[in-house]
Symmetry: C2
Subunit: 363 residues, 2 copies
């Protein structure tokens, strides 16, 4: 006789089932160490009031069982899920051409991982409402402690939604007017576009065009304004500005339109809102018989590795997306009062990276 059956704890009985060993719980660790569950809890949480020998026995038992506190149970107890949400409203196709998101995510992870937080990602496509639904679910189901947003729009509805949902939020990039949200961005956002215009002006370019992103994006509006200002500062007529999407096809169409003009009107340099469009535009120009940079200079935005791979290599405006992601995560931790190693993360201003796709203006 080893004892009355009804004394056998539930766990042990379950463990004997044909499913093999169940996942260990704090009770198993306590039993193995010969202590109470609260002792185990105190040990793993670094609370004091535990003698070194007891502590060691608990640690050994936990290691032997391969046990760590269940994130779920901890979350239920303390209302902290230790997960941050992010919703990307982009089609796989755009996502594939443009590592913008991927870089941001890398940066975010760099901060989250050491603090033992996870990133819950939702990629939802661009159907209207999909993004909002994703945030709503994240909030209502309390799956995450907060969310990181990107690509603020003019008249963005997400901030209000999130505030109603009481979900802490951090925006990567500039908010529109005074949207009530914590935003992280580079110091001196405008430096890149200004430097690009100055660079082209110095090369003798006078007719410079700008191919922007969709106009509901806040950064589109801001950058176009900066572009216009910079042109004026150099005493140039505001160049022609085309509104495009972020796709390669859009860039090709824009390039065709710009190059269709008479020689005297045709731009000798074009700024694109991202590198993908710039590369696509560059090739479109070449297929139309224009040599880059001899007949036409091209500048991108983001400094993706792509720009170094192509021929001619792409002059571009670099922004440190990884760092921006880190900053966003750090800001989130601030909002949540989560202690974390890194303090506030500085983000350098965007800067011009001259390569082969820009050259002297044609005479």
């Amino acid at each position: 006789m080893t004892g009355p059956t009804e004394e056998q704890p539930d766990r042990a009985r379950r463990r004997a089932s044909r499913n093999g060993p169940a996942k260990p719980t704090i009770a198993d660790v306590a039993a193995l160490a010969g202590v109470s569950v609260s002792a185990v809890s105190k040990v793993v949480n670094g609370r004091d009031g535990i003698s070194p020998p007891t502590r060691q026995r608990v640690l050994d038992a936990a290691a032997k069982l391969g046990w760590a506190p269940s994130a779920t149970a901890v979350a239920l107890r303390g209302a902290r899920t230790r997960a941050i949400g992010m919703v990307a409203g982009r089609s796989p196709d755009v996502l594939a051409t443009d590592p913008h998101f991927t870089l941001l995510i890398s940066g975010i992870e760099r901060e989250l991982a050491p603090a033992d937080h996870g990133l819950l990602l939702h990629i939802v496509g661009e159907e209207p409402g999909a993004e909002e639904r994703a945030y709503r679910r994240l909030a209502e189901e309390r799956r995450v402690d907060g969310v990181i947003l990107t690509e603020s729009r003019v008249g963005d509805l997400r901030f209000d939604l999130l505030r109603r949902l009481r979900l802490p939020a951090v925006l990567v990039g500039a908010p529109w007017r005074d949207d009530p949200v914590v935003a992280v961005r580079a110091a001196d956002q405008d430096a890149g576009v200004r430097a690009a215009v100055a660079h082209l002006h110095g090369l003798g370019h006078r007719r410079i065009s700008y191919v922007s992103g969709p106009q509901d994006r806040v950064h589109t509006v801001f950058r176009r304004r900066v572009f216009a200002e910079a042109m004026a500062e150099h005493g140039l007529r505001p160049g022609r500005t085309l509104i495009s999407d972020f796709t390669a096809q859009g860039a090709v169409a824009a390039m065709r339109e710009l190059l269709a003009a008479d020689a005297g009107e045709r731009p000798t340099a074009v700024l694109f809102a991202n590198d993908t469009m710039a590369v696509a535009g560059m090739n479109a120009a070449r297929r139309l018989g224009f040599d880059v940079p001899r007949d036409l200079s091209v500048i991108g935005y983001d400094d993706l590795p792509l720009g170094e791979l192509v021929y001619p290599s792409l002059t571009t405006i670099g922004q440190d997306l990884v760092q921006l992601g880190r900053a966003a995560a750090a800001a989130m931790f601030g909002l949540l009062s989560v202690p974390h190693a890194t303090g506030p993360v500085p983000v350098r201003p965007p800067r011009l990276i001259p390569r082969e796709s820009t050259g002297p203006a044609p005479v």
Copy 2:
């Protein structure tokens, strides 16, 4: 007097605190609807035994409060987190050049989202042990119901680890020998490389080289074998094979080495293990004075959008990464017995996509 203070429920008292309204719970919904909590539970879970009017009252109350069952509580109760984990062991830099992961993730999400599952992503860099630690934490903390793996290695340790951790796993790609894991992959994996060799042979190429990925990757080993077989089938000497990493720099170095040979030995066509390397290699060749495709034909792998952007556009072997991701998620649902709309997802074999970077062999 509205009643004795000690009768006031906890919730209501908390709600009155300065923090504003607390997140509603099932009890709040029940109270508002004037029913019991179990009635609410039954309604949201579609159980029967609830009269239509009651049901409606509950639904209204839930909507009014913006309530949905707490994912945490549900998980604790049922041991299902409704989240799938994925660990990407890649540096941000590689991630940025190569949307391989991004596309996979898009596909995974496409399946997960409709089934109301989340994707918990960990990007860990390539330090040894980092990946394993990430999986271990995912498992020990029971944050996810299962994990999706990519890039199986020769002698991969992760499968054993995950089995010990009792975490269901699905591998994207071919396992090495008979690693005990559910794997999803395209029908006829080898079709792409075979088609590429046939294509080049048809264009008159006789000296064809292959620049592979790191040799601990299973697909590297398999594809090299297929390459050798295909060459033999066409009566060609096995071309020179170089082992590289997946980076642009690696490709440039490989290209330099291949083109340094005497004209009689120099390959007239090169197959690369991914598109990034192919594009980088193509440009390296051009900088060395070789025209593509006149002097040298180049073929990539993956069919990333990048291939269409560059000039000349890249002939490549396309595999449907989004579909592979979907298949992996579907397989995971199978493993977890989660009912989901999509049945098993078929993945088409890799196929050759001829573009401008391949042409007749130089005479």
